[in-house]
Every structure is written in C-alpha cells, then in structure tokens.
C-alpha cells in the first residue's frame, strides 16, 4: 500500500478557492473512521490468533484437519496482507491526517479563541484599574506564555509602569529576537499583542467590550504622539543591478532580498536603504508586465532618513498614510507603468504591508493582479477583491502575529503557513532566523518543489501570478528607486543640483479611517 508521504508535511494552507476550515469536521470524521477501521482489523487479527490456538490444540486428535487449518489461519493472520499489517498502515495515515487537521486548526482553534477572549477581558479590566492591575494581566499571560516570551511581555509592562515607552520597544526587541520560535508557533505572540493592545486602550479610560481593532487603534494613538517625519523624495538609481526575471514567488522574494540595503546579507552590492525594485517583464509574445519588489524594515529608528523605519511600520499598522507606500506609488509612476499592464507586488515584512497598501491605493490606476508577502502582518487596508494574494508566514515568526488577529483566507487570499522546525530536525530557529527573507525564500522554494502550487487552494493564485510573470523566455529589465528623507537629498535634486520645487505628499487612503 502506498501512502502519501508528503501529505501536509510542514505546511498548511488557509483560504483560496474551495471549502474552508468548516471542513475540518469532515477531516476529523475521516480520522475517526480510519481509527475505527484499524480497531476492527486488530480485532480480526486477535480472533484469528485465538482460532489458530484452538486449531493447534486439536492437532493430536485431528492431525490432518488441524494442520491444514493452522497453516491457513497462520497465513491469514501473519501474511503480507494480514489485518494487523493493514491496521498499522491505517493508523499511520490517521496520524498524518490528524497532523494536518491540527495544523489547520492552529490558525484559530477554539482554545486559541477562548484564550484570546480571556486575555482581552482581563487586559481591559487591568488597564481600567491603572498600572496596579498589571499583575492580573501578567498572571493570565502566564497561562499562555512561557520562558522568554513571558519575560519580554513582563519587561514591556514594567517599562510602561515606569512610563518609559522607549524601553518597551527595547525590551520587546531584545528579548524576542533571541526567543526560540517554538514559543510562538501556536500564535501565542499574536494573542499577547492583542491583549497588550486591549490593555493600553483600557489605560486610556476606554473600558468596554474588547475591541476587534485594538492593535490599529493603539498604533494610531502612538503614531499621533510622534513628531512629523518630514518630507520624503523618490530618486531613480543609475545603473541598478540587473536582477533575474522572476519565475515564481520564491524568485520574487529573492529579488526582494536583493533590494535590501547594505545591512542585509541578501542585499545586492551598492543597494542603499529605502530601495524599491521595479522589473519590466517583456514576454516572448510581445506582452509587457511588471514586478515591484519592496524590502522590509531596515532601521528600528523612528523618523529615520530611510522611510523603511519604525514610523512607517507604526503608520501601516495604524492604517494611516505612510511615506514608503507613497514612495512605491511614485516609483511606479516614474517607471512608466501604464494602467493596462499587469503588475505583481511583492514584499517582505514591512515591504509586504506596503505591497498590500499600494494594491489598495492604486485601484483604477494600475492593473495589480497579484500580491506576495512574506512574514508580514495584516494591515487595516485590505487588498482589493480580485487581486490574487499569497501571504507566506512561518509559525515561528513573531512579526506576522503582531496584527493581533488570526490568519484568515478568502477566495482571493491564501495564507501559506510553513514550519521551520519539522520533527526530527535539530535545533530551533531564533526569531531573527524565522523572520529572515532568506528563510522565506527557502520555504516557498520547498513548497513549490513539493507541488503545492498545483493544489486547488494555491492553483488560482499560481495561475494569476504565472500570467504576470510570463512563460519561459520572458526577459527582465530592472529599474531601481530610492525613497529617502535625507534632508540634503530632499532639498536639492542630485541630478540637476537645483533646489526642488516641492516635496511628496502622502497619498490619502480611500476607506481607511
């Protein structure tokens, strides 16, 4: 009997066409049926064993008949197709099926939902009681968090008690960076972020039912406290590196990695912070399409020279206009992308949030067909309907969990959850390793290598992406732009040496408060 060896190994997919998580009940029923079948086969094997012993007892008085019966019963009980042998295979299949069901269910298990509501209510109550309520929240957090992750949240709360918001970020970044990914693989970080946001809202005297948009609401509150970041400009790069024509999502993410600035190991030489890659794809049949590749956070400073900073993160999470999304739209305009040529947007981390935001901002202006994000949390501005979207997220990566919401798919949006740590592997990835763009490239490479792109949930996305990326023989011309707030570059155009007449203004978001 051949069982499916790759079935569900290390991946789960949420969303896409076809049935949704409601079908987990059917799959759980299938597990039960397999185990029932295995149980009955075991009973058959046991009955055959008893029958054989009975036949052996009759060897003396009825030698000829008993010998024939013992031989036949032994063959039935111990042969290659014996009931016990088949039962073992069925249990193996049931175990694998159960693993897949568990993988899907982890996205939003009832336990998860219960823990979330308990923490949200406790966070609101603790917040309304002032900082003295912190132990209540921490006590509840103990139920769901452990080790380093608990320490990080506790440290952040202590910092809040001392009214030192800067230390909150330091404490979270310092402690979570080194935390083993397993602490987050079940979405505990997402629950913790949501609870922390509920707590902070309640501190502001907003005690009430837990809000579903607690994280964006807190991000808006904090963003409102920051000084203005100043103007940003978009500069075309001379002689950008010519990156390979992307053939699949892994190639897109590989090019995203090459778009990072000098601090990243995946960066192409000479690439500055704030770079945006736009590839013009010329198909053999004369069609032309475009790929836009956007890096993630390059500095954790606020209001940095490069808009790939913490300010942009905060504003994206808050659903507020941000410099990087505006810069990408401006770069697309400068690249000359016409409204009728298909575009795919790809980004890692913050870059994925920017890709989602740009898809929402450019409705009616650009023909965005597909979006690929890796390690990115959801943002309040949803990708428009009809745009095929793939979110790749590692279970061990805390960053996609900072939206405080469970992963959810739609017919257009597919969430591919990959696990970095499979049973039998040695060691656990750190959070930095789990979030690295290189790790996401490997995850997508492996998924596509296993043929997941042909599965019905991913097939529609893959078809839409292939339509943009084109067939073999498609060539790429790489353009690059730099988004910057560097005052010298903002004041004076380096190409002409003349002062700039005006500066970019952030685009207003349609439908975002």
């Amino acid at each position: 009997m051949t069982l499916a060896p790759e079935w569900g190994a290390g991946y789960s997919v949420v969303g896409g066409p076809g049935p949704t998580r409601a079908d987990l009940d059917d799959l759980a029923d299938a597990v039960d049926a397999l185990e029932r079948a295995a149980g009955r086969l075991d009973e058959a094997s046991s009955a055959l064993g008893v029958a054989r012993r009975a036949a052996v007892d009759l060897l003396i008085p009825h030698h000829a008949e008993a010998s024939a019966a013992v031989r036949a019963l032994s063959a039935a009980r111990d042969g290659a197709s014996s009931p016990a042998h088949v039962a073992g295979r069925l249990r193996d299949l049931a175990a694998r099926l159960r693993q897949v069901v568990r993988g899907y269910d982890e996205a939003e298990s009832w336990v998860h939902r219960l823990v979330r509501s308990v923490l949200e209510v406790d966070a609101s109550v603790a917040g309304s009681a002032g900082f003295g309520g912190i132990p209540v929240l921490v006590g509840r957090a103990l139920v769901t968090l452990d080790g380093v992750a608990l320490h990080a949240v506790s440290a952040a709360l202590v910092s809040l008690r001392e009214r030192d918001p800067g230390a909150v970020q330091d404490a979270l970044v310092r402690d979570l960076e080194d935390a083993p990914g397993r602490l987050l693989a079940d979405g505990r970080a997402e629950v913790a972020v949501d609870a922390l946001a509920q707590y902070l809202l309640a501190l502001g005297g907003r005690l009430g039912l837990p809000r579903r948009d607690a994280v964006p609401a807190v991000a808006r509150l904090v963003a409102g406290l920051l000084p203005d970041a100043g103007p940003a400009v978009v500069l075309p790069r001379d002689h950008p590196p010519q990156l390979d024509a992307p053939r699949d999502p892994a190639d897109l993410l590989r090019n995203v990695g090459a778009t990072y600035g000098p601090g990243s190991p995946s960066s192409a030489p000479g690439t500055p912070d704030g770079a945006i890659t736009i590839q013009r794809l010329d198909h053999p049949d004369g069609r032309r399409t475009w790929a836009v590749e956007i890096p993630g956070t390059e500095t954790w400073a606020v209001n940095a020279d490069s808009p790939t900073d913490a300010t942009t993160n905060l504003r994206l999470m808050a659903g507020l206009p941000d410099d990087m999304s505006t810069a990408v739209v401006e770069a697309m305009r400068q690249a000359g992308i016409p409204p009728d040529e298909p575009v795919v947007l790809a980004g890692h981390s913050q870059g994925g949030m920017v890709a989602m935001k740009v898809a929402a901002l450019t409705v009616g202006l650009v023909d965005v067909r597909a979006v690929v994000t890796a390690g990115s949390p959801d943002i309040p501005a949803p990708v428009p309907r009809g745009v095929a979207t793939l979110h790749v997220r590692h279970g061990e990566d805390v960053v996609p969990q900072t939206d405080g919401e469970p992963d959810d798919g739609t017919s257009d949006t597919v969430v591919l959850r990959g696990r970095l740590r499979l049973s039998g592997d040695d060691g656990l990835p750190s959070l930095a390793e789990a979030h690295a763009v290189g790790a996401y490239v490997e995850t997508v490479d492996r998924a596509w290598g296993q043929g997941l792109d042909a599965s019905p949930r991913l097939r529609a996305f893959d078809d839409a992406l292939t339509e943009v990326l084109g067939p073999d023989g498609t060539t790429a011309t790489t353009l690059q732009f730099q988004a910057t707030r560097d005052p010298d570059l903002v004041r004076t155009d380096p190409a002409t040496g003349l002062a700039r007449p005006d500066v970019l203004r952030p685009l207003l978001d349609a439908g975002v408060p």
């Binding site: 029958a51 009825h62 039935a76 295979r89």
Partner: protein, 85 residues
C-alpha cells in the same frame, strides 16, 4: 472449547466492518490535490483490506473441515487398524 469456525466468522465480520469504515472515510467533500492523495491512499487501504479478507476466506474450508472432524469425534489413533469390507 470455542469452535474455530465461529472465531473465523468473527474475524471476517471485523475485516468487513473495517472495509465499510474505509469506504466511509473516503467520502470527504474536501477538494484539493492533498485530498486526492488522501483518497488514493484510502483506495489502496481498501484494496489491502480486501486482500486481507481474501486471506481470511482462504482459511474457511480448512477450518470448516476441522470443525466437522471435531463434531464427528476423535479419529483413529496411531496403530489402530481399520477394516473395510
């Protein structure tokens, strides 16, 4: 002593019940390549269960012959002379 044929009938009943459970397990309305692999694995499993039943059925005649011999009573012992006329 329990009759061997009854035990064999129980084993056959159990294998048949497993086959029915496998048929039920294939009725998953899930649509995907993974589900196709699952159904293919279940079809293989059902085929293996059918082979198991064939193996058990192959024991039916020898066991029935044994049960019949037991009902008839002990056969002639070693050294016993049998006369036919």
């Amino acid at each position: 002593m329990q009759r061997t044929g009854l035990l064999l009938a129980q084993a056959l009943d159990d294998v048949e019940a497993a086959r029915r459970a496998l048929a039920h397990a294939q009725q998953v309305p899930w649509v995907s390549a993974s589900a196709d692999l699952y159904r293919a694995a279940l079809a293989d499993a059902a085929a293996a269960a059918t082979a198991a039943r064939a193996g058990v059925e192959a024991a039916v005649l020898p066991v029935a012959a044994l049960d019949l011999a037991v009902v008839r009573g002990p056969g002639p012992g070693p050294g016993t002379r049998t006369w036919t006329w």
